[in-house]
């Protein structure tokens, strides 16, 4: 115990590697947390934060590497081992039993029994002491079902304290909270900090990092990038570290520059360069609305259980032959924007037009016929039917015109697969048998060739190898040259800057920046991605509602 008291590090994770079937989620990550500090673990979705913390919590076992907790070498086989060592984790999704009381939930799994008899009063008293000690404003006898989200989160924290945790991991704790609840959470965290607990907070919200943490570690693409003192850094620097300078794109830039010189081909669209101008093609059913591939007007989206809208006042348009890039740290409304555009969710208010048709509450089918194609974010769940063969997958959405679809022979499917370099180009294979990158190319093969005038591409190159990225970028620019309007949502800032004609930045569900892509730097965008101005970030950003 004495040795532990003096040990400087609460957590030492050394050279941790963990690979899943195809991806290395953690690649020789070394992560150290000082005893008694608040340490922020930041990075985009898929950077490996959750995997690293699940390893620390005993949910995953590392392929290699060493873990020391308070100086002691440990090897966890399950979370039970981690809990016994004094580690507690608050998950993003609460694990509570709604009809039970606060005290019952807290003691669940650790009911102290005397000769096999559970004494609720004793448990209640102990929970009440803890609540008082940390000033949590909870009634131990209240039913969890009646509590607000913020209160439920406090119950989760209580559960951990009840088990005498010294090290507390909070996984995106503010994702579900209102600004007021965030304030309460922060003061709880500070109180825990004062009582000597070590706290790791996983987040990608930079103002929270600035407001709470003493030190922070940035992960990107499964690798350790930096560990910094919060006082000695700026949100822009963190944003830049999180998103990363794209290492491949500079070499590509020349080719892209060449492709971008291609004139926007279709004559009908050549004379409609500025957005909002009338298009010569008559649009049926609408009274001569301007033929802009995509126009979004004041869209707002609210989700049940959240006070703040997840999208607010989103307005922009995409012109023919224009690539509009949407940048932003992930989790700032991009996912919701895609859902609203593709038809998985309907906006609470505002309107969406595709080629002049009002498709605000239209089904995906209607959006397709209005001229949209879409590379969805989650290709496996939204873009493909894994059990179908490749030909059947290429037919998705095309099959509405069944007569024509039947002419889509195996041979034609094979040629299309070859065009998009899907390996192997065997249309009889099932999509589940392809690697992730090839699945992505399969989706592109289908959506890029749909003959649409609007393409919504969400992270079209995520998780695929360099050659394939280059290839898909070329295809995107080809589409642009043919006059297709493209909305490119990507977390790769380099990709956005290399391809886009215009750049939007999303932060907190809003578009905080919009400008033509000339002379923009990653650094500039980083400031907006971090939530506007430096001043705003330092004094707590989103917490003032």
């Amino acid at each position: 115990m004495k040795m532990e008291q003096q040990h400087e590090w609460a957590v030492e994770m050394l050279e941790i590697t963990r690979a899943f079937a195809r991806v290395v989620a953690n690649d020789r990550i070394t992560f150290r947390v000082r005893r008694g500090e608040i340490h922020a673990l930041v990075g985009e979705n898929g950077a490996g934060k959750s995997t690293l913390m699940k390893i620390l919590y005993g949910l995953y076992r590392p392929d290699s590497g060493e873990i020391r907790i308070f100086g002691r070498h440990v090897r966890f086989r399950s979370p039970a081992d981690a809990i016994a060592t004094g580690i507690g984790m608050v998950h993003q999704h609460f694990m509570l039993v709604p009809p039970f009381t606060v005290a019952e939930n807290v003691t669940l799994g650790d009911e102290r029994v005397h000769f096999g008899i559970y004494r609720p009063h004793e448990a209640q008293a102990r929970v009440a002491t803890l609540i008082e000690q940390y000033a949590m404003a909870l009634d131990p006898r209240a039913r969890v079902a009646d509590l607000s989200v913020g209160e439920q989160q406090r119950v989760e924290i209580l559960k951990i304290l009840y088990r005498d945790a010294r090290l507390i991991i909070l996984d995106e704790p503010t994702a579900v909270l209102t600004p007021q609840e965030v304030e309460t959470l922060f003061s709880t965290i500070r109180r825990l900090h004062e009582s000597g607990k070590t706290i790791i907070i996983i987040t990608h919200k930079l103002h929270e990092v600035m407001a709470l943490s003493e030190r922070l570690t940035v992960l990107r693409a499964g690798k350790w990038i930096a560990t910094l003192d919060t006082n000695a850094t700026t949100p822009e620097e963190i944003a830049r570290l999180m998103v990363g300078r794209d290492v491949i794109l500079p070499t590509l830039a020349r080719d892209i520059e060449k492709l971008r010189q291609l004139p926007v081909a279709t004559p009908a669209q050549q004379n409609s360069k500025p957005a909002g101008e009338e298009c010569s093609r008559a649009v049926t059913g609408s009274n001569s609305a301007p033929c802009v591939p995509l126009r979004v007007e004041g869209v707002e989206l609210r989700r049940a259980g959240r006070q703040r809208p997840v999208l607010s006042n989103i307005s922009f348009s995409v012109s023919p032959g224009e690539i509009v890039g949407v940048a932003g740290v992930e989790g700032n409304g991009q996912k919701e924007l895609i859902e609203v555009l593709t038809g998985l969710a309907f906006p609470t208010s505002g309107r969406i037009f595709i080629n002049g048709h009002d498709v605000t509450t239209a089904s995906p089918r209607v959006k397709f016929s209005a001229g949209m194609a879409c590379v969805p974010e989650d290709r496996q769940r939204h873009g493909l039917i894994l059990d179908f063969n490749l030909r059947e997958n290429l037919l998705l959405g095309r099959h509405h015109d069944w007569r024509n679809a039947r002419h889509f022979t195996w041979e034609r499917a094979r040629r299309l697969l070859e065009d998009f370099d899907v390996r192997p180009p065997d249309p009889r294979m099932r999509a589940a048998q392809l690697s992730g990158g090839n699945q992505q190319k399969l989706v592109a093969a289908r959506e890029f060739t749909r003959g649409a005038t609007l393409l919504v591409a969400a992270h079209p190159t995520r998780g695929i190898d360099l050659g394939a990225i280059e290839f898909l970028h070329g295809k995107l620019l080809e589409l642009r040259a043919r006059g297709v309007g493209i909305l490119l949502i990507s977390s790769e800032l380099g990709e956005i800057l290399a391809l886009s004609d215009r750049v939007l930045v999303m932060y907190g569900g809003k578009i905080v920046f919009e400008a033509p892509n000339c002379g923009l730097s990653e650094r500039d965008l980083g400031i907006y991605m971090a939530g506007g101005t430096v001043a705003q970030v330092v004094d707590g950003g989103g917490s003032q509602s």
């Binding site: 079937a21 593709t342 038809g343 998985l344 089904s363 995906p364 089918r365 209607v366 959006k367 397709f368 879409c374 969805p376 769940r381 939204h382 873009g383 493909l384 039917i385 894994l386 059990d387 179908f388 059947e392 037919l395 998705l396 959405g397 099959h399 509405h400 069944w402 679809a405 039947r406 192997p424 589940a432 048998q433 392809l434 690697s435």
Partner: protein, 369 residues
């Protein structure tokens, strides 16, 4: 192709072998002679043409219920209500029979037989189909799980029919019985013995051809039509299907209607082919056995024909060998088949996916070097 064979032939075969072993173990434990009992089940079915005929008749009805379950399965729906749906379809025919009884012969003969059969078949299918549409609509619009709703509607169907036969002041039953008046001979489906005298005495009838046609038709529908494509897409991944412009609601409702309509064909086989009237509790679980038939066939419409035949043998053997072994042993085997099929399917699928991934990795590897 190799994969297809493993999924659709090898996996069910292994499951079947395993369940036979389970059945044998039960026989051995309970002290019956293992091999001779099995021999007698098979012999009972095939020792004469009468036995074959009886097996074919059961297989006919099991094909319909198996297809009904399989179609719903393909759309991602677990229709446990086939039993209730087939009763509704059959009862609809029974009610038609009740009203026909008063019609003079000449009037009936005025309409050609083929038209009568077509109309009656349509009535049975539509009645059962609409009954199955209720859980379909509930699922599509409220998300109520079809397993719960179809089970509940089984009870409703049985109770409703019971009421119509016994308590309705205008009961459809022949007095003092639990069956409806018989159809005139001229409106029934001929028995096979009509053409093939060797089947003399067996109830196997022309609805056998309906079963073959239905299997092929469903196979073609799922494989080569837009509706079939959409049913399969929704069954495998409703979100991706929705994003591709398919309405999962529409497909859920249509698939349930189709499933119920197939269940209704049992009524044609029994009411028009076998007895000539509706009789309470005639099915005795054909709808539930259809789940096993569909599972063993891996929900493949043509496979259903084969597995229905297999279950036909078991089912008839159960009756025929009743003197020698308790029918419970055969029922245990039927249950064992369901268990082993479910397990074998998931094991083989996992194994196949792992195997192809390994293979691809090797290929990538050799391409790199």
């Amino acid at each position: 192709m190799k994969q297809w064979l493993i999924r659709n032939v090898l996996a069910p075969a292994v499951a079947l072998a395993f369940s036979i072993i389970v059945g044998m173990a039960f026989l051995a434990v309970t002290g019956y002679p293992v091999l001779s009992t099995f021999r007698s089940i098979v012999q009972q079915s095939f020792q004469d043409w009468y036995g074959v005929g009886q097996v074919l008749h059961t297989a006919t009805m099991l094909t319909f219920t198996g297809l009904a379950v399989a179609v719903a399965f393909r759309a991602g729906l677990f229709n446990i209500g086939v039993e209730g749906q087939l009763y509704v379809g059959s009862m609809a025919l029974g009610i038609v029979g009740y009203y026909l009884r008063a019609l003079p012969k000449e009037t009936i003969q005025w309409v050609p037989w083929v038209l009568w059969i077509m109309a009656l078949t349509a009535i049975a299918m539509v009645a059962a189909g609409l009954y199955a549409t209720i859980p379909g609509i509930l699922k599509a619009f409220t998300g109520a799980h079809e397993v719960i709703t179809t089970i509940m509607l089984n009870f409703v169907a049985l109770a409703w029919i019971n009421y119509l036969l016994r308590y309705d002041p205008q009961s459809f039953a022949v007095p003092a019985t639990v069956r409806t008046p018989a159809f005139p001979e001229s409106l029934r489906l001929p028995r096979l013995s009509h053409w093939l005298p060797i089947f003399q005495g067996s109830v196997v009838n022309a609805s056998l051809f309906f079963a073959v046609v239905a299997s092929v038709a469903i196979w073609w529908l799922l494989r080569s039509t837009k509706l079939g494509y959409e049913i399969r897409a929704v069954g495998k991944n409703p979100v991706a299907a929705c994003l591709a412009g398919i309405s999962p609601r529409r497909i859920t409702i249509l698939a349930m209607f189709l499933s119920g309509a197939l269940a209704g064909l049992v009524g044609v086989s029994f009411v028009l082919g076998h007895k000539g009237y509706f009789e309470e509790n005639f099915s005795g679980g054909l709808g539930f056995l259809g789940i096993a038939v569909a599972l063993l066939a891996n929900n493949h419409p043509l496979g259903v024909l084969l597995t229905a035949l297999l279950f036909g043998v078991l089912n008839y053997g159960k009756v025929a060998a009743a003197g020698e072994i308790p029918k419970d042993i055969i029922e245990i085997m039927e249950a064992a088949i369901i268990f082993s099929v479910v397990i074998a399917n998931s094991l083989f699928t996992r194994w196949l996916v792992a195997a192809t991934k390994r293979q691809l990795k090797r290929r990538e590897h050799s391409a790199d070097t």
